[in-house]
């Protein structure tokens, strides 16, 4: 009798108390101050994007030729551009486009990539070999060059930019998810459900997919900043969204530099917006990876 009580006591001791969501947040802020700062920036950007109509002091499309190149002032905090449009309003509306392209492109790219990765790992054999080769080939193209080629064919429009940016993400996500899925597949519990006669669909959806969500989420947050940056670069090169869309990259293209002496603010503020946004996403993604990857933890 005495031995059974002893094992019972031993088994119940080492479990750590479960944290509530609020406690988890506090812990994250304390352990990862940089990540919390990043999350704050992302949150601010989302609020600005969601409430652009309320927050923007002027109509971002309204040209006022009497107000061309107005210096930053109380009325126009960031000044006006060559059409007399209020820069701050344009930057506020730009947050919406940056977030839309960033989220949809990285979500589409990572999800498709993850699906291919899981299929490739689970199917194995010829399917795996074929998909792996295909991903290798796509990886032979630098991200921006592939996006540039696709965008040039599809033409400048927001939805085309999303397609152009998401395609280069696919092989990168597929790689990462495939390698995790391969190790998950070898686990004893997968073998067990296989022996119980579970269908392939059930094994993949119920047992493999939930176990590759961590790398999927890391990949997704890691790609967000890059996707926003790629949108800015494509728009800057004239292949992203077209005028008069208030895209941050587009605001910096062409005319911004020709008025360098007259109105340097046109070339300064949109750049700050891009950098700050991407900085937030990178900080957050970095800390998330640090927190989820035990190899990088201190100790």
């Amino acid at each position: 009798m005495a031995t059974t009580t002893l094992t019972h006591v031993r088994a119940s001791v080492p479990l750590a108390p479960r944290l509530t969501i609020g406690q988890e947040v506090v812990k994250f802020i304390r352990v990862k101050p940089l990540g919390a700062a990043g999350a704050l920036i992302i949150l601010a950007m989302m609020v600005v994007g969601a409430f652009s109509e309320v927050l923007a002091p002027y109509d971002p499309y309204h040209a006022d030729y009497g107000l061309q190149f107005a210096r930053p002032s109380v009325d126009h905090w960031f000044g006006t551009d060559e059409f007399g449009r209020d820069l701050m309003s344009r930057i506020i509306y730009g947050a919406r486009i940056a977030l839309f392209v960033g989220f949809t492109a990285s979500f589409a790219g990572c999800t498709l990539g993850a699906l291919l990765g899981v299929v490739s790992a689970y199917a194995g054999g010829r399917v795996d070999l074929f998909l792996e080769r295909l991903m290798d080939i796509l990886l032979a193209f630098p991200q921006l060059i592939l996006a540039l080629a696709i965008a040039s064919i599809l033409g400048p429009a927001v939805q085309n930019v999303v397609i152009a940016i998401s395609i280069p993400i696919i092989p990168r996500a597929a790689r990462v998810v495939r390698s995790t899925a391969l190790s998950v597949k070898e686990n004893v519990y997968v073998e067990a459900v296989q022996a119980l006669g579970a269908s392939r669909r059930r094994i993949v959806l119920q047992h493999i997919v939930p176990n590759v969500t961590a790398p999927y989420i890391i990949m997704l947050t890691a790609q967000l900043g890059g996707a926003i940056l790629a949108e800015a670069a494509l728009s800057y090169l004239g292949l992203g969204s077209a005028e008069p869309t208030p895209s941050w990259g587009l605001m910096l293209s062409g005319s911004a530099l020709s008025y360098a002496e007259k109105a340097p603010w046109i070339a300064v503020f949109p750049g700050i917006a891009i950098s700050l946004g991407v900085f937030g996403f990178n900080l957050f993604g970095d800390s998330l990876r640090d927190a989820l990857d035990p190899k990088l933890r201190k100790g």
């Binding site: 080769r133 921006l144 540039l148 800057y236 700050l276 991407v278």
Partner: protein, 317 residues
């Protein structure tokens, strides 16, 4: 080592074949009609005769497999046809622009390596102190700030304070070193900062991993000084992944070249791509996208070979 080189060389053949196929699919199959795009099909008014002429010139009147065969045959002979915009062979146009881009790429790599390795190492050794935070913030910042904006800021500064104007022609270093330097220094800073940011982060995390190894603990236990432990034991072993990463991050560099050359109006390969896209010069776009992938594959091959040369475990696998 020789078998390893041979194996790696053979492996790039299917990759390059696939890359040629992908480029072909993107340029020929997705768009519907390239000829219509070239003539500005969006206006809706296109001369039928002109359309047939352009189709014939590009070989678009041939069936798709024939077109693919012609494209592959051209790739094998490094003959990519002529530019629709200038009428010159694509390869000749490329060779004029290559030295500038190569110089920019090499100098940017050099600058970034000189910055990133010491700083990445310091950040790792002093993990979670203010030095680490500062270096991480600066390097994450380098990834966040678009390189074209860094370029724009450089130009703003130069224009406002020095009345600077963009140079019209590339001066090679062997003609006039000073003119070349003043022309290249800002673009190199622009590309190099971003590249350094990537490499610093990689150096930091690889050094961090190595610092947890048993032999480092042994080195500490032997009572070696910190400098010896870090530089002789940790850094040397952390360098291998960093060398590989310098190669893989070459993609960042190429992306950086495209926008930086556009900002500084430098007549390099990157700007050639952008111009070709703007002019709807599809033979050039097709050729350049493939050739950039080709260059990228070769660089990765060289990196792999260096890695195998340094680390014998890889060649015998």
């Amino acid at each position: 080592m020789r078998t390893y080189i041979l194996k790696r060389l053979l492996l790039i053949v299917p990759t390059l074949f696939g890359a040629a196929a992908v480029v072909f699919v993107i340029m020929r199959v997705i768009p519907g009609d390239v000829a219509l795009l070239i003539l500005g099909g969006d206006s809706g008014q296109v001369d039928q005769k002109q359309l047939t002429a352009v189709r014939q010139q590009l070989g678009l009147d041939q069936p798709l497999p024939v077109q693919f065969g012609t494209w592959l045959w051209g790739v094998l002979r490094f003959d990519f046809g002529t530019s629709l915009w200038t009428g010159q062979p694509v390869i000749e146009e490329l060779l004029i622009r290559l030295p500038l881009s190569l110089e920019l790429a090499l100098l940017a790599t050099l600058v970034s390596v000189l910055i990133s390795i010491p700083f990445g190492m310091i950040a790792a050794v002093r993990q979670d102190t203010w030095v680490d935070y500062l270096i991480r913030v600066i390097s994450i910042g380098g990834l966040a700030i678009p390189s074209f904006w860094v370029g724009i800021l450089c130009i703003l500064f130069l224009v406002i304070y020095f009345g600077w104007g963009p140079p019209l022609e590339y001066t090679p270093p062997w003609v006039d070193p000073w003119a070349n330097f003043s022309q290249m220094v800002w673009p190199v800073v622009t590309v190099g900062y971003r590249y350094a940011a990537v490499t610093t982060r990689m150096t930091r995390s690889t050094v961090l991993e190595v610092l947890r190894e048993d032999y480092i603990r042994t080195a500490w236990a032997k009572g070696l000084r910190e400098r010896v432990v870090v530089i002789r034991h940790a850094l040397k072993n952390a360098m291998l992944p960093v060398i590989t990463l310098i190669g893989t991050e070459f993609a960042f560099l190429i992306g950086g070249l495209v926008v930086t050359e556009t900002v500084f109006t430098l007549n390099g390969v990157g700007r050639f791509v952008v111009d070709a896209v703007a002019h709807r010069d599809y033979p050039v776009v097709q050729a350049l996208v493939f050739l950039i992938a080709f260059g990228f594959v070769i660089v990765n091959l060289l990196v792999d070979l260096t890695y195998a040369w340094f680390d014998p475990r890889i060649r015998y696998r």
